[in-house]
């Protein structure tokens, strides 16, 4: 069964059709790139999956329809996402940001927390160990205790990525993780994505504008244009598709 299957997803804002019958699915350990020109509706797909927007059609997570659930309920099922601009909690340290990312995995109740009972302390230490493993994974050790607001943008993007990973998701939605990263940071990111795919077997949907990266890494590509599916399939064929080339680069012909 597919980890996530989207069936004829349609989203309208008044008379504006943002998504028009978009269907795709992603398997465990699969890296699906979602590409398309600006305004194609890529982020809207993510917002529908994570419950921020409510569209028509079906969104099934491991066979269960999650449409209409609140965003925090969907996150608890194991759907994690990153945001285009990082959207970190600037006054919190890297560790605190990641611990917040693990919110859904922590089981302590506020009454016990008020007294910081030994059970709470044990749980916090356990969570901290889990967070340290992720910090180790994304190589952020030196920034551990630094409030993230003052860190370089590229580092912040990686922290946002790590925060999504902290949820121990079954599906990871990556919204332009490479935007604003320099060459070296992009290579690091590519390495992290491949390690997640091979070691953690997490299904990933990846919005990306760097076609070189997409061609190199993605298992499959799904192309959107004005809310419709333009093409879908393995990287080699999709990137050669005339309509995709036309939507992205334009054609010489006058229309």
């Amino acid at each position: 069964m597919a980890e996530l299957a989207i069936d004829r997803l349609t989203l309208r804002f008044g008379g504006l059709v943002v998504l028009d019958g978009v269907s795709f699915s992603v398997e465990a350990g699969e890296l699906l790139a979602l590409i398309g020109p600006n305004g194609a509706g890529k982020t809207s797909v993510f917002n529908c999956i994570s419950g921020i927007y409510h569209g028509d059609g079906a969104i099934r997570f491991r066979g269960q329809d999650i449409r209409g659930k609140a965003p925090h309920q969907i996150a608890r099922l194991g759907v994690a996402r990153t945001f285009q601009h990082g959207e970190l909690f600037p006054h919190m340290t890297v560790i605190e940001n990641l611990l917040t990312g693990r919110h859904a995995r922590i089981r302590t109740n506020p009454l016990a927390e008020m007294l910081f009972l030994p059970s709470v302390k044990r749980e916090e230490v356990r969570q901290r160990e889990a967070v340290e493993r992720i910090i180790d994974f994304v190589e952020l050790e030196r920034y551990r205790h630094t409030p993230v607001g003052g860190l370089p943008f590229g580092t912040q993007k990686i922290i946002g990525f790590a925060r999504a990973l902290a949820l121990e998701p079954a599906i990871l939605l990556l919204d332009e993780p490479s935007a604003g990263l320099n060459r070296e940071e992009r290579e690091d990111l590519a390495r992290f994505i491949l390690r997640i795919k091979h070691e953690l077997k997490i299904a990933m949907i990846w919005i990306e504008h760097d076609m070189q990266m997409v061609a190199d890494l993605a298992d499959r590509i799904h192309v959107l244009d004005y809310g419709r599916t333009l093409a879908s399939g393995p990287a080699e064929s999709v990137l050669k598709d005339e309509r995709v080339v036309a939507a992205y680069l334009g054609t010489g012909k006058k229309t």
Partner: protein
């Protein structure tokens, strides 16, 4: 919460639990010990006047800490704090007058009243934000004060409810010294609860909601749940402070809970420094003592008696000026000043912070 700069060399941590400890170095433990000893010794040296000042500070500290949780951490603006204090005070007063309830019942009852009111006036926060939310919390203040006033007139306590000194196991809780220790205990307890909440899941959720609601929700945090929880906990604490106030003053009256009191609490957390518990404490000390300082300063002037009538006006005006000065020149509040002094000594003889790893 965590250290922004190494405070001491030679302390190596060997477990994550050590990083969660409230005091991390021997120096910190020693200074805390000295501070506690001074606090405990204070009533044996202080005059009744200074004892009363200290007690007022403790009461203000409980209120300021609870408002800091709500506004400084969870990001929910409230102008209803005086209403919650009033609710606590009236719960204690009414229970005492009507059924002669003992203090160990009235204080928890006040907390429950506060918690229930917290749910009610937390509900608008699910839809409203910022100034609009502040105005909706204002409504709570007027409702509580109105109900309190109705009770006073209907039962014939038109000047207020008097409460006799409570008795626990034959021991009468009366006098500044005893109340100093009671209020100190409650203030310290409130501080500890706040610190503990902030270093665990709930505190992180609040801070997350404060900076990015949508992102927090996408991480699995129930926005409605944690907003209401912030209102409930904060309101329960404020109501307890109100009940303690009633017992300490042996008197409850709606006049004590004016809108100006709410503004004073907001001032405490702004002057102290938003998003810092230490800021709440410093703000509580400052705002409580400020009128007395102004009075003392005014009395030093030549021909002091002739200004005595102006004291009230001067107090209000000076309070306003100080608020403006803080907002303009020190948005981080007293805690910002405190941190700067600390940094100065930590870095001495150097002037600038290291570039990487230890910003802010």
């Amino acid at each position: 919460m965590s250290d922004r700069m190494p405070r001491a060399s030679g302390y190596f941590r060997t477990g994550y639990a050590q990083e969660m400890a409230l005091t991390k170095t021997r120096l910190e433990r020693a200074s805390l010990f000295v501070f506690v000893v001074l606090l405990l010794a204070f009533p044996y040296f202080a005059s009744a006047f200074y004892l009363d000042l200290a007690n007022q500070v403790f009461l203000a500290a409980i209120g300021a800490l609870s408002l800091m949780l709500l506004t400084g951490y969870a990001g929910q603006v409230s102008l209803g704090h005086a209403g919650l204090l009033a609710a606590g005070a009236f719960t204690a007063g009414i229970l005492y007058k009507e059924i002669n309830a003992p203090i160990y019942l009235t204080i928890p009852a006040a907390a429950v009243t506060g918690a229930v009111l917290g749910v009610i006036f937390g509900l608008p926060s699910l839809r409203l934000r910022g100034l609009y939310l502040a105005v909706s919390t204002l409504a709570l203040h007027f409702i509580v004060v109105y109900l309190g006033g109705e009770y006073e007139t209907k039962r014939g306590f038109s000047t207020g409810i008097t409460i006799d000194a409570p008795v626990i196991a034959g021991f009468r809780l009366y006098g500044g010294k005893i109340w100093y220790f009671i209020l100190l205990t409650f203030a310290a307890g409130t501080l500890l609860i706040c610190v503990n909440l902030l270093r665990s899941r709930t505190g992180r959720a609040w801070r997350a909601i404060h900076s990015h609601e949508t992102v927090a929700e996408a991480l699995g945090i129930s926005i409605a749940g944690y907003k209401l929880l912030a209102f409930v906990i904060s309101s329960a604490m404020a109501a307890v402070a109100g009940a303690l106030f009633a017992y300490y003053r042996s008197f409850v009256s709606v006049e004590a809970f004016s809108l100006f009191l709410s503004i004073q609490y907001v001032a405490m957390i702004i002057i102290g420094g938003m998003g810092s518990l230490l800021g709440a404490l410093l703000g509580a000390v400052f705002v409580t003592l400020f009128p007395y300082l102004i009075e003392a300063a005014l009395m030093k002037l030549p021909n002091a008696q002739s200004y005595a009538g102006l004291l009230f006006a001067v107090n209000y005006a000076a309070f306003g000026v100080v608020m403006i000065l803080f907002l303009v020149f020190e948005p981080q509040g007293l805690v910002g000043i405190w941190r700067r002094i600390q940094t100065y000594f930590l870095l001495w003889p150097f002037k600038h912070k290291p570039v990487a790893g230890a910003r802010k």
